[in-house]
Symmetry: C2
Subunit: 393 residues, 2 copies
């Protein structure tokens, strides 16, 4: 064999994540590797924890990135908080609620499912009923921003309900962190996980998490050992937890953490409220363009995520062919539907660095070109102007 | 706050890993991110599997990188192969055998421990006795290259013994892959895991694994679900396994995989036997220098890893002070002792890209300078010449 280096094409990533990565983050990742116990790296870890606390809007001590993708962050929350026999109320309104159920069951717990339509927010009333019907429930778990549908749920209300009934909360913020208002401590979230590759615009592979003092108390007083050695927070805390001497647990993914640090510096320098506003403005412009074209949103207004726009695929249009042509002719990636929505919707991401005017106008122009080129019944030539009108105020 | 970008110092990494990263790998990691289901990325995944098969010297279909560090690779092997009630013979001759025990127990299995001195290879006779005494054992697990001590065990013999008694094998090759002869298929290893940051010289964060058809058969016929959703190979295989359509499991760490791919291209272009020889030559030169200086190896000749050189700290010498000064004055990292060897040894790595003449001579010169500067009783001024003699043949 005589293999060659890989040189990827330059795509515009407007799917459900990974999102476009800020070049500053890519260049941070290429900086010289240091050891995972090097004093300068230990300082970086402390700074990263502070920056993550800012991103999560919390002062919780146990706030750090899990050294693996978002699904490992999810599992970290469940394996640490759920013991065999525990009952967990799991809200499902998309793919990721189903994954939570899998996690509960693999921990030996029982999942009480609260189902909502895919594309809708979690209904607090149903959650309250489930809480009343299950006074022995220990945890309520839900997805703040459903990446599979584009729906946002009212985390503040859901957490309050859970607490009123003596439950802890596990919240999936994979797609919300950095893109939509999220106030971990003010809302009282007990365990939260996110991903590096969505509204933080970092490369995929890391999962920021944060745990409340109440959650840590439960973890420290477990009756059984956490079933995962890699994800056992009692051990991970020795490496990431204290401010003093770090004890070796696993080898941290040094250069990936350089990237996450840079992403968090960018977020902090911009200001998180400004980032939320930027996501909303660009969403409104994209939305105006898509609707002018004749496309309709899956999620009702008021429950929509600005950073993930799910639109129905117009009748008679070949899903894969459109996405294939966008990729081939425009180097533009938009997302397919997932699970129950496969083949029915496109998911257009405006996440982090990618939530900008260039991407919005480019995407509208490309979609218009591809769809009208295929003879789809859309209003051609009007989308960009509609978006520009939003930007003009 | 107004945080700043992080600019690490340029270290020479001669500890137990991460090792010096080839600049080609760092620049590969900074290439533009593509989606994890992008056709060009799917092609890259196939190529990476081929390259990993070359590195592991196997044709096993299920050969891929776990999207997390080596300790998650270890856990992937155990959670998939060990079910509650299973008996596993675990060989311990350092820190990582102990971690294997933890893994077995957290899977609900029973670990039968075979203990050897730290710094020695696993004794095949003891393993045979354990196999005879435990005819109901399902798996034998051992560490090929003990990173905590620098000892190499005879994997071929141990695997044969296990198979003769009807057991599967789980092998830790974190520090051996790419640095020492390792022939997964010829030796018949059933499950093996490694790390990206040792003799592959990549950044930390990924764990290459490979599974034999016999291991896959066991995984597919489990009585219980794998306790980890993230590490369940029945699910991961849907994304990494087949050559056709990939189904979404988790979001792969795209840019980290660019790095691993480049590392594997470098290994393949060099030729794996050449890489093994290079590690051995540089080890012999380093060894000559260290011994000329008066330092002695922890591991007996014949059981030593070329890529990890453990030497006893001379009496009266302050461990932390020496390592601190090497880092401060020379930007050189060498490793401290771990577990039972903490404070007693230094671990000097010659791994992958870092196994070269420059590092050997630099390390000997720096150690000589620091130790003699502290008044340690070593032979000063002779180490570099002794090493050069080896290079001269």
């Amino acid at each position: 064999m005589s293999s060659q280096s890989f040189h990827p094409p330059v795509r515009t990533l407007m799917g459900p994540g990974p999102s476009d990565v800020n070049p500053r983050i890519l260049s941070a990742m290429a900086r010289p590797t240091v050891g995972h116990l090097d004093p300068v790296f230990v300082d970086l870890m402390s700074e990263m924890k502070d920056l993550l606390r800012y991103a999560f809007q919390t002062s919780y001590e146990l706030t750090m990135p899990v050294s693996a993708p978002g699904s490992a962050g999810m599992e970290t929350c469940f394996v640490n908080l759920v013991e065999p026999g525990d009952k967990v109320i799991v809200c499902q309104n998309g793919v990721f609620g189903g994954r939570m159920k899998e996690n509960v069951e693999r921990c030996g717990g029982t999942a009480v499912m609260v189902q909502d339509d895919w594309g809708r927010a979690v209904d607090p009333q149903k959650v309250e009923e489930a809480l009343k019907a299950n006074p022995d429930a220990k945890v309520v778990a839900f997805v703040h921003a459903e990446t599979s549908t584009g729906a946002m749920s009212d985390a503040k209300t859901l957490v309050k309900l859970a607490h009123d009934h003596g439950c802890l909360t596990i919240v999936d913020a994979v797609t919300s962190l950095g893109g939509s208002p999220l106030k971990v401590e003010e809302w009282g979230i007990d365990a939260i996980y996110s991903g590096s590759q969505k509204c933080l615009s970092c490369t995929p592979g890391l999962s920021p998490v944060s745990f409340s003092p109440a959650a840590i108390d439960v973890i420290k007083n477990r009756k059984t050992k956490v079933q995962s050695w890699f994800m056992d927070l009692n051990l991970v805390m020795g490496y990431w937890g204290g401010e003093g001497k770090r004890s070796y647990h696993h080898t941290a993914p040094i250069n990936a953490l350089y990237g996450l640090h840079e992403a968090l510096v960018l977020l902090e320098n911009e200001g998180i409220e400004n980032s939320w506003t930027r996501h909303m403005t660009n969403h409104q412009a994209l939305r105006a363009g898509l609707e002018a074209m004749g496309l309709s949103f899956v999620v009702p207004e008021g429950e929509r995520l600005p950073q993930l726009n799910s639109v129905s695929i117009p009748e008679g249009v070949d899903d894969a062919k459109v996405r294939g042509q966008l990729l081939k002719d425009y180097n533009l990636e938009i997302g397919a539907g997932l699970g129950a929505l496969a083949g029915k919707v496109w998911r257009i991401g405006l996440m982090g660095y990618g939530a900008n005017k260039t991407n919005v106008l480019f995407c509208l122009g490309a979609l218009d070109g591809v769809l009208s080129g295929m003879g789809a019944r859309i209003a051609s030539g009007v989308a960009v102007a509609a978006a520009q009108k939003v930007y003009a105020g």
